[in-house]
Symmetry: C2
DNA sequence: GCATTTGCCTAAAGGTGTTAGGCAGATGCA
DNA sequence: TGCATCTGCCTAACACCTTTAGGCAAATGC
């Protein structure tokens, strides 16, 4: 009848991301998206293969956005400064965009994952760690540690896990970053002879 | 017509937990459960209020099982030993029962959460940390750190995050536990004058 | 100005969640 | 043992989501 709504994959994915932030990634549905564009459901299937495809695209968007933010955060910083900025980029994104953050955890098939911003995240993590002068395999372990801590904390926090007990999550966050920094700095390194290591390398 | 299947909340929840481990918690469905009991879908609604209720019960089961395992693990251990056993209890459970582990993250309303095994988890975590002689608020921060690391690692690992790169996840896990132990041991403590702290307390 | 392409539509089928009401097997009591 | 009741599973029906097939009209190209 009137003018065409002008759908496109990009618009759908952006709207899907916003929808995710509003109602949660798990509740992102093709039907709801169609409703928002005031369009019949079937119409979306010309732009998106299916629901899984839509979610994958939202996940890719989220991963890319998150990588961009992280990149901005670490640019021009090193060591502890970089670590904090990097960590805050993740946490802030998760707080501001919980649905998108969830989307970034959507399981991707290997090829899609390889073409996603995922590898950028890994490279940035390594870049941040560079300041601590770790050697392999310690650096890889540290990359995984950072991923675990950041993801774990943020996911518990957004699930409300810390909201019903005493110190605000904020304080724990800085305490954890302090601890991580100390931990990484204490790792044996070829360029900085170890003086503070404990039994951390006896396994 | 023949003999009645003999449904009950307990059987449904147990079967639901098994289903979760097979197909993932997100795909646990009232319909599939009915199919497994060779019963019509509506029949389940005499035992369970609705789908959300079913999932909540599975979550409670998982939380309780996990708490039981953790309790067994830390019994009779202290310090680093307790930390490792505690951590391994979580990781092992997640690997053996991925669906149940996911279920344990199902958001519960406050009253349900309070009546769940959740508080037991928190108490056990504090018990494990007792060996490190932390003072408040450091102990609470440490509880949250452990939760974040364990959950983060396990969730990334079961999502396949570590399966496509060099050192096996197992090695990273022990490296992380070593690091955590060192970190906690290095915290200032009233009973153990600090000798090994680095810049961890200069923020 | 016409042909083609593209974009959104109608129609239809299959799956899940949920409620209401019915019938028969199990249970309790005389 | 026989009857009344209760409980447990069933049929029926509706709402919502996903997906596919095929149609019509607006946009586009020449």
């Amino acid at each position: 009848m009137a003018v065409r709504p002008g759908l496109s994959v990009e618009r759908l994915v952006r709207a899907g991301a916003e929808l995710a932030d509003e109602v949660g990634f798990a509740h992102v549905t093709v039907s709801e998206l169609a409703r928002r564009f005031d369009v019949k459901v079937a119409s979306l299937y010309s732009h998106v293969r299916n629901s899984h495809d839509l979610k994958t695209r939202i996940a890719l968007l989220a991963l890319a956005e998150l990588a961009d933010r992280a990149a901005d955060a670490v640019a021009g910083r090193a060591g502890r400064d970089a670590l904090t900025a990097f960590a805050d980029a993740y946490r802030t994104y998760a707080v501001e965009h919980p649905g998108r953050y969830d989307a970034a955890r959507f399981p991707l098939d290997p090829e899609t994952a390889a073409a996603s911003a995922g590898p950028r995240h890994a490279r940035m993590s390594r870049a941040v760690l560079r300041g601590y002068g770790l050697t392999e395999p310690a650096e890889t372990h540290a990359v995984r540690l950072l991923g675990s801590v950041f993801h774990g904390f943020v996911s518990l926090e957004t699930a409300g896990g810390f909201s019903h007990s005493a110190p605000p999550a904020e304080e724990t966050w800085t305490w954890i970053l302090d601890a991580l920094d100390a931990l990484l700095a204490a790792q044996p390194s070829p360029t900085r002879p170890d003086t503070t290591t404990t039994e951390a390398d006896t396994a």
